[in-house]
């Protein structure tokens, strides 16, 4: 899903129920990572949930494959992918992901205290982008 579609959808939500249902549905639509890619080297450990991340440079663009064991985290990953997927590393480095999550009122899920592995994952993507740029 495109970032603008996500933004538009969020603009309509009044109740937290609608928002979280949407996030969970985004998570359900996220393609699963190959089991072979769910290896320790790709694991970003969280205290409560785990995230697997595979990055690849395709024709100068960052291609990401990300998965998690939790639905809500998968939904949040889908939002991050809408911002990052197949974008030039320089654009990933400068993209204000905190700003996006604040705008969607989801920023607390990107907080390091939440322990869901997302913050560490974003840091790892940025590092890869840094190296590729």
């Amino acid at each position: 899903m495109e970032l603008d579609e996500i933004r538009d959808a969020f603009a309509f939500f009044d109740a937290w129920e609608d928002k979280y249902k949407f996030v969970i549905d985004l998570g359900k639509d996220l393609p699963d990572l190959n089991e072979a890619d769910k290896k320790p080297g790709n694991l970003v450990r969280g205290c409560q949930s785990q995230v697997w991340l595979v990055t690849e440079l395709r024709g100068g663009l960052m291609h990401l494959a990300i998965d998690s064991d939790a639905h809500i985290v998968r939904g949040l990953i889908a939002i991050i992918l809408a911002a990052f997927q197949d974008r030039p590393p320089a654009a990933i480095r400068t993209f204000d992901i905190d700003g996006l999550f604040a705008e969607l009122d989801l920023l607390r899920h990107l907080s390091p205290v939440r322990g869901n592995g997302l913050r560490a994952m974003v840091r790892r993507i940025r590092q890869e982008a840094e190296l590729a740029a």
Binding site: W16, E17, Y20, I24, Q48, Q50, D69, H71, I72
Partner: protein, 403 residues
């Protein structure tokens, strides 16, 4: 006798709301809330007699010292220790265990064993691993049954002549299992092993009697029994504590210092280097006063009833699977729900004002043994009510609709 239904009004925080819903606080195994009297005692200390303890000849210092030693005496009385010098102030359970592990270092040699169980909190595993690395001793873990209890046959099989120390939790923080520590302590002593009990989850629920229990060390925290964070107590038998070297060096713990060498202060100060957490000790004492002023037996029965109610309500919800079915359970329930990850349900409960904990609960070996990635944990305290159970059950039912 205090009105049983009025307890929650003693805790100011319980009046707040979270995400637009009334707070349903069911994370008491992580930390309990503080009654007004504890908060007031800490404030009163800072407003009226804040001073450093034990070493000044002025009124404030005398009052602060008296308050701190008074708190020590209350702790001694609460847990039935023979002497107040057997109570060492620590930062909490974790530091208490680390203190023992550090001070016991010289007593361990290669070939010695430390016996824990698979259900221990990481703080009752890692300090022993560090001790093993320093000394060449070996860490051995007794198995846990699928019901979430210590496998006693396995425990007794692993307890032997090499076992120098047995370190076991009184109550499992992840499952609520109440362990038969009297039996384990006796068995350990029969083998000549020392014993340490991690009492973090037990002190708010049980009346303790160190003289009867006969363990060598018992560690616990104030913040899990309505006191402040950053303070706890380590009980140790006086003769053992006398023999052990200090844990940290600094002020307060010395008798005389010369560059050539130092003689240490007497117990308990030998183990209390540096300015202690005086406000914490004052709050700790106030928490004990608070507990003592309550009809504890009646409250415990009510809490027990509440946990039974919560268990039966959760079991009625299709898809809910209770993790751990111990014969004796303290106020902790771990569960999983089909179709979603614990983290999803924790987040969806939080949206409804219900505070539970999700994850491995700092007990990764236990999760591994039970074959689960983590659980959702609801833990109760004496201020929880049947309305909290209703909100938990309703919250779970609603969350299930999402996934």
């Amino acid at each position: 006798m205090a009105d049983l239904h009025d307890i929650s009004s003693d805790f100011p925080i319980l009046a707040r709301s979270v995400n637009g819903a009334p707070l349903t606080y069911l994370d008491n195994a992580a930390t309990t809330q503080k009654p007004r009297s504890v908060i007031d005692a800490i404030r009163h200390y800072y407003e009226h007699y804040n001073a450093n303890v034990h070493r000044a000849a002025h009124a404030l210092a005398d009052e602060a010292t008296a308050a701190m030693e008074n708190a020590r005496a209350k702790i001694q009385d609460l847990i039935g220790a023979a002497e107040s010098r057997e109570i060492i102030f620590t930062r909490g359970t974790t530091e208490g265990i680390n203190l023992v592990a550090a001070s016991l270092t010289e007593r361990f040699k290669p070939g010695d064993e430390i016996l824990v169980t698979e259900m221990e909190h990481h703080s009752n595993i890692v300090p022993w691993q560090l001790l093993c690395q320093r000394s060449g001793a070996r860490l051995v873990a007794g198995a846990v049954t699928p019901a979430g209890e210590i496998d006693l046959d396995d425990f007794h099989a692993k307890l032997g002549a090499r076992t120098k120390l047995v370190a076991v939790s009184h109550v499992s923080n992840a499952l609520g299992t109440v362990n038969p520590i009297e039996t384990l302590i006796q068995a350990a002593h029969d083998q000549g092993a020392m014993t340490l009990i991690d009492g973090a989850q037990a002190v708010q629920h049980f009346d303790l009697d160190m003289r009867r229990l006969d363990c060598d060390f018992y560690a616990f925290s104030a913040h899990k029994m309505f006191g402040p964070t950053g303070i706890g107590a380590l009980y140790g038998k006086a003769n053992l504590l006398e023999e052990l070297p200090p844990y940290q060096g600094g002020g307060e713990m010395i008798e005389h210092v010369a560059i050539e060498g130092t003689t240490y202060n007497q117990l308990p100060y030998k183990f209390e280097a540096g300015t202690p957490n005086i406000a914490g000790a004052v709050g700790f004492g106030a928490a004990i006063d608070y507990l003592r002023g309550l009809p504890r037996q009646a409250l415990r029965e009510r809490e027990h009833e509440l946990v039974r109610l919560a268990l039966s309500r959760l079991k009625q919800i299709p898809g809910v699977r209770i993790i751990g079915e111990p014969g004796e359970r303290a106020s902790i329930i771990s569960f999983l729900i089909d179709g979603g990850h614990a983290h999803d349900f924790g987040t969806l409960l939080d949206q409804q004002g219900v505070a539970v904990r999700t994850g491995h609960h700092c007990a990764m070996p236990l999760m591994e043994r039970l074959g689960v990635p983590g659980t959702i944990r609801a833990s109760f305290a004496l201020y929880n009510s049947p309305a909290d159970v209703d909100r938990l059950a309703a919250g779970v039912e609603k969350a299930i609709e999402f996934v």
